[in-house]
């Protein structure tokens, strides 16, 4: 029906549609095809995000009276969170964690690896790259056990290598541990990104820099850096988003000891599920969603800006 009316109504439309819609799908059937997928996304991705706003304004609990009869409490949860030193502690730890392990650690180590490996023997390059990639691919629950074994107080490999018998790394330096662990896990991404970025730098530019006597540092600053600026920004924003949202440190320290590694994701979990305060947990989740939104919007702006270049999905 619609097809007939449309082709009768306009002269240009059918020709354009014929070029696209070769299978004779038609709008109605196309909608039918797309509907189940979009419905699933709507129900299990979009709806939870929107529902968070409402949940955050109730006193929902996991068990007990408020589980069956939640009350609307307005902005109380937000006030509770913002007045809770634990929340600010958690936000601060998250900031340190994202900044040191993600933005500084992974980016610098990933870039250094990409730079160092660009002209070593292929065998060595493959070997080192495989090691770094394996750390990123090993499932999180295995990776964290490997680190628990490495750092174990009594029989850990690190203590026997350093001769520091009985040093309890995870208790004495928990934040440093999860930061180094996260660098270990995530560096592969930056390494790969920068490695392809560096290989795309025109060799002639490096050549002429070398001809006029630029040393390595000057080459990096004046040739490489201007060329990979876009990648650097992409890398930073994606790493920020991922590091901010990782839950894996929980497997290593569970937020402890004494909340010293209580990053935002762990804090939400502890509050909402074992703590049972779903309403308060939802309020903090909303704050987290909003921060994600800001980072993602910045990323879209950046990747739109360098139009023509391939956008990573």
């Amino acid at each position: 029906m619609t097809e007939a009316t449309m082709s009768a109504g306009s002269v240009r439309a059918p020709r354009r549609r014929r070029a696209e819609d070769v299978a004779g799908l038609g709008r109605a059937r196309a909608t039918l095809f797309a509907a189940p997928g979009l419905l699933l996304i709507g129900l299990f991705l979009l709806f939870p995000a929107i529902w968070t706003v409402y949940l955050g304004m109730t006193n929902y609990r996991l068990t007990g009276f408020a589980a069956a009869n939640p009350e609307f409490v307005g902005l109380d949860n937000f006030a509770t969170a913002l007045n809770d030193p634990r929340f600010w502690n958690s936000l601060w730890l998250t900031l340190v964690f994202v900044l040191v392990s993600g933005i500084i650690g992974q980016t610098i180590l990933g870039f250094s690896l990409a730079w160092m490996l660009r002209n070593v023997r292929p065998g060595i390059k493959t070997f080192v790259e495989t090691l770094v990639l394996a750390a990123w691919v090993i499932p999180a629950s295995v990776a964290s056990f490997l680190w628990l074994a490495l750092l174990d107080r009594r029989t850990g490999t690190l203590n026997s290598l350093l001769g520091t018998e009985g040093a309890a790394w995870l208790i004495q330096h928990p934040m440093e541990c999860i930061i180094i662990f996260n660098i270990w896990v995530g560096t592969a991404f930056s390494m790969q990104l920068f490695s392809s970025a560096i290989s795309a730098v025109p060799p002639s530019q490096l050549e002429s820099a070398r001809m006029v006597g630029a040393n390595t540092w000057q080459q990096l600053r004046d040739v490489i850096l201007p060329n990979i600026k876009g990648h650097l920004l992409t890398n930073t924003l994606l790493i920020t988003l991922w590091t901010f949202n990782t839950f894996t440190p929980y497997l290593l320290t569970a937020g402890g000891p004494n909340g010293q590694t209580d990053i935002l994701s762990v804090y939400i979990y502890q509050t909402a599920i074992p703590g049972g305060q779903l309403g308060l947990g939802a309020a903090i989740s909303l704050i987290m969603l909003l921060i994600n939104l800001v980072i993602a919007l910045m990323y879209t702006r950046v990747s739109r800006g360098k139009s023509g270049k391939k956008v990573r999905s």
């Binding site: 797309a34 968070t52 499932p139 270990w184 392809s196 599920i273």
Partner: protein
């Protein structure tokens, strides 16, 4: 003369020192990445593994022990159920949606695609764990595989549609035209013409989805309550946290068996498809 010689010698010395430093740094960095993994390679084959890395007393008994542990085997089966279930759902819904979006242009189509992608990077498992938990709770799907599959599929689907639409766009339309001339309906065309051509893309999505689900810890940890339902990623954590004395023979073999499939798949996919497909919902 002497000055030139000194300069020349200085050059070689500097060069030598920088080579040594370079090698040293590379060795240290490699050690940093390798050190935790050595245990994963050696301990499973050691008759008496400890947490310290040591040359093993070679044996395969640990794997026999693993095969005899009902919980471990059950959890690997659960990982498979979750992986294959999510994969099937995502492939079917993703292929249908991306085909429709590729062949019919509605106003704002690209905007919708980008919005979906944006949505999936914002609404991560961590940020949405409370509403997701509550939603699955209300739907009475707590402690069911269906609940986990639906949540995981919802998170993965935007990326899948985005990638598959690219594949669909690249399929020459003449095939569909001829199929239509012979009287095939749209569904038939999708099934018998488009899907066979898009097979590499679909295969990639299938593998990628299974790898993502296989390693995912948070969603099943949140939604599955009993050990007989939990996948390996969650049971692994239970093994080393809840038992009083961790059974290292079991854990080491379990870690290796659980990690090897994704490692193999990953390096295969990486070699074949390159860097384009890294990352995604790994959180």
């Amino acid at each position: 003369m002497t000055t030139i010689k000194t300069v020349a010698r200085d050059r070689t010395v500097t060069h030598f020192v920088s080579r040594v430093l370079f090698t040293l740094v590379l060795v240290i960095v490699s050690l940093f990445f390798a050190l935790p993994m050595v245990w994963l390679i050696l301990a499973p084959f050691d008759a008496t593994p400890s947490l310290t890395v040591s040359w093993p007393d070679w044996t395969l008994d640990n794997f026999v022990r693993l095969a005899e542990n009902p919980y471990a085997m059950r959890s690997i089966l659960n990982s498979l159920i979750l992986g294959v279930g999510t994969m099937a759902l995502v492939i079917v819904l993703g292929a249908l949606a991306s085909y429709a979006m590729s062949r019919i242009s509605i106003p704002g189509r690209d905007g919708i695609l980008y919005a979906l992608l944006l949505l999936s990077s914002i609404v991560t498992g961590t940020a949405a764990m409370v509403p997701t938990f509550q939603l699955i709770n209300q739907l009475q799907l707590i402690n069911t595989h269906v609940g986990v599959i639906l949540v995981l599929a919802g998170g993965i689907l935007p990326t899948v549609i985005f990638i598959l639409k690219d594949f669909m766009d690249s399929i020459p339309k003449s095939y569909e035209e001829s199929a239509r001339l012979y009287g095939a309906g749209p569904f038939r065309i999708l099934k018998d013409v488009v899907v066979p051509i898009a097979r590499p893309g679909l295969a990639f999505i299938a593998i990628w989805t299974i790898v993502q689900v296989w390693g995912n810890f948070l969603v099943p940890f949140l939604l599955l309550r009993t050990p007989d339902m939990q996948p390996a990623a969650v049971l692994m954590y239970t093994f080393y946290t809840e038992s009083g004395q961790a059974d290292l023979r079991l854990i080491s073999a379990f870690s290796l068996v659980f990690s090897v499939p994704v490692l193999l798949i990953y390096f295969f996919v990486n070699r074949r498809y390159g860097f384009r497909f890294h990352g995604g919902i790994k959180s």
